[in-house]
């Protein structure tokens, strides 16, 4: 009988040095997954950026339509008017008050008035009739004055006060007019019945005066503290609206742009064939054009994306282009070029002139070009995703830009100037369909108005993963000076 042991001990001792070699297939699977991951990793990151860019564009378009809709709802004049609508309620009350006053005046002035009641009825009726007109007149007046004050709010306050002062000056004259009006009204009422007030109004030219009077009276009422406050409030509100609008206005910006771009490479090397590594290369100036949309995250930072069409190209100099009449030339074709099969001319060979000197013993049927150049050009659709940091935001703005671009190859060609004019040699087969670049640059802007500014942005774009089999130290980059007008929403 063996001794008893705690169950934990039994297991602990048993598994102390437990090791088991797994099946080799496990490593095979891990390796396969690692490779898959490596492959996937290069592209998805950039697809993700592309996705972000696309999302930004979608958001942008939604944003634009949204803000456009909002703009019509929140246009400043309408807001003021709706405010006045609320105010007009108060003002109407004030109006009735102020109109009550003239009655008292009338009473005071025309003590001898025999038909007080008639006069009261008359004026009260004309008051009712004119209310609509008063309101329109009244509404027009302050709304236009407040609206006109947008450019200068402080002046606005002054001008309103001045108006009020003028109105107060008018009050003396008004009271005199009221006296005469009421007399005439009384006369008319004694002549005609109260039921014919409308007719009376039309017939009686004084009814116009009555309207004018009541308007003036309202203005007098406006000069009351209460009304002044409402105007100040309105101004303040309009200020607030202005502020809100300022914020909203600068969020989105769309900038069509065009840029001359200079393609170049750091270090010696060739994207075409190793034999051209040491050949001199001359850059070409091409064009890039597109649209960039940006969104301001805050005062300083903007995220931007868009679409650009970029054409790039460069020439490799000191090249010998041969056209052999025999079907196969002794020299193999360029390593990174897929020859043009439909080429009408027979086999074309391209050689570095140095190589040509070495091999000159070989006999060629025809030489068509010596010391010419071959020109490689390619175009991309570029989707940048960049961040703009504002350093200076005045009439003249200054900012720094950094980010990435994804490039989608749309065209590539290799041509040479030999024979008569430009001849296509083939298509480069080592340009990746999707490549990218690291971007940085400076932005200068000049504001024409709140909405429109001119941008000049010298950008440096270091290309990554553009070519597959480059020889030598071929590190392509390009510089573009992007110029365009930005329109803010």
């Amino acid at each position: 009988m063996s001794d008893k042991k705690h169950i934990d001990r039994v297991f602990q001792e048993a598994f102390k040095d437990f090791e088991e070699v797994p099946n080799d297939a496990v490593w095979g699977q891990i390796e396969a997954k690692l490779k898959e991951k490596k492959k996937r990793r290069v592209i998805p990151v950039w697809w993700r950026y592309g996705g972000v860019a696309a999302l930004l564009l979608i958001l942008l378009s939604i944003g634009i339509s949204y803000f456009n809709n909002n703009a019509s709802v929140e246009s400043p004049i309408q807001v003021v008017e709706s405010d006045e609508g609320v105010d007009s309620g108060e003002n109407n009350n004030a109006t009735t008050n102020s109109i009550n006053d003239p009655f008292e005046n009338k009473e005071a002035i025309s003590n001898t008035n025999s038909s007080e009641e008639d006069g009261l009825k008359n004026t009260s009726n004309s008051e009712e009739n004119t209310t609509a007109k008063k309101e329109t007149l009244f509404n027009n007046n302050p709304s236009s004055s407040v609206a006109s004050t947008y450019p200068n709010e402080e002046n606005n306050g002054n001008s309103v006060k001045e108006n009020n002062l003028q109105e107060q000056k008018n009050t003396n004259e008004t009271s005199a007019q009221i006296a005469s009006n009421s007399e005439e009204n009384i006369n008319s009422s004694s002549n005609a019945n109260n039921s014919l007030i409308d007719e009376d109004k039309i017939k009686n030219p004084n009814s116009k005066d009555a309207i004018a009077d009541s308007v003036i009276e309202e203005k007098i009422a406006l000069s009351n503290d209460e009304n002044q406050r409402t105007i100040e409030e309105a101004i303040e509100e309009s200020k607030n609206i202005d502020d809100v609008e300022k914020e909203k206005l600068s969020r989105w910006r769309v900038a069509p742009n065009a840029a001359p771009v200079f393609f170049n490479t750091m270090g010696q090397g060739s994207s075409i064939d190793p034999q051209f590594d040491k050949n001199s290369k001359s850059t070409e100036t091409n064009m890039s054009y597109g649209v960039i949309a940006s969104y301001a995250i805050n005062d300083k930072l903007r995220v931007r994306s868009g679409l650009n069409k970029v054409n790039l190209g460069y020439s490799t100099n000191d090249v010998v282009v041969l056209q052999s009449l025999s079907n196969r030339s002794s020299i193999s074709f360029l390593s990174n070029v897929k020859p043009e099969l439909s080429n009408s001319s027979s086999d074309i060979s391209v050689l570095s002139s140095q190589n040509f000197a070495n091999k000159s013993s070989t006999s060629f049927a025809t030489t068509t070009g010596i010391n010419t150049s071959i020109n490689q050009s390619f175009s991309f659709i570029e989707v940048p995703l960049e961040i703009e940091y504002t350093l200076l935001d005045k009439k003249i703005g200054f900012n720094v830009i950094g980010g990435f671009s994804s490039f989608f190859l749309s065209d590539s060609e290799l041509t040479s100037n030999f024979g008569s004019g430009e001849t296509s040699i083939g298509e480069a087969n080592n340009i990746n369909d999707i490549s990218y670049s690291a971007n940085f640059g400076l932005g200068l802007s000049y504001q024409f108005s709140k909405k429109i500014n001119l941008n000049i942005e010298p950008m440096f774009k270091y290309q990554i993963n553009t070519f597959e089999n480059t020889s030598g130290d071929f590190k392509p980059y390009f510089i573009g000076v992007y110029t365009g007008f930005g329109i803010k929403f």
């Binding site: 009988m1 797994p22 490593w27 390796e31 690692l34 490779k35």
Partner: protein, 183 residues
Amino acid sequence: MLNLSLNQLIENCKINDTKAQGELYKLYASKLFSICLQYSRNYAEAEDNLQDAFLTIFDKIKQYKGKGSFEGWIKRVTVNTALQRYRGEKVFDIVNDPISEEVDIEIENDNISLKYLLQIIQDLPDRYRLVFNLYVLDGYSHKDISEMLNITVGTSKSNLARARQILKKTIENYREQQHLQSL
């Protein structure tokens, strides 16, 4: 490759050097596979867990800053891989009767084959297996286990007691059968 120091190997793995990753696998596969076998339900799932564990290790190796032993780190990653797989699984045979926490569960110390012991661990319900492994074989405290499995300390304790009871019973039954067969 053998002359490469472990640190160099780790550094190479950080830059996704496939060769270094292969070396690292060779170095630790059997150790980690034993863990996987203990924590998994069966051999096939242990292989799956080993694969996942290594993929996680290669993915997260940049986060290993040389603090603590590397072996400890990869073992933790492996255990966590298994926990992730089984943690969410429900314990169906929830036993409500209170378990007397007999700490002194003793069995006869015959030579029981490792293979058999592994088999009966794998046959335990998921939660019991995890708790038993964590507590008995890897030395985690009930508090650690409660955090790792998102259960209470009490549950961890009762799961462990339950696991021990099941294991004891299984072993005793096994013995009995063997005894009968030998007769």
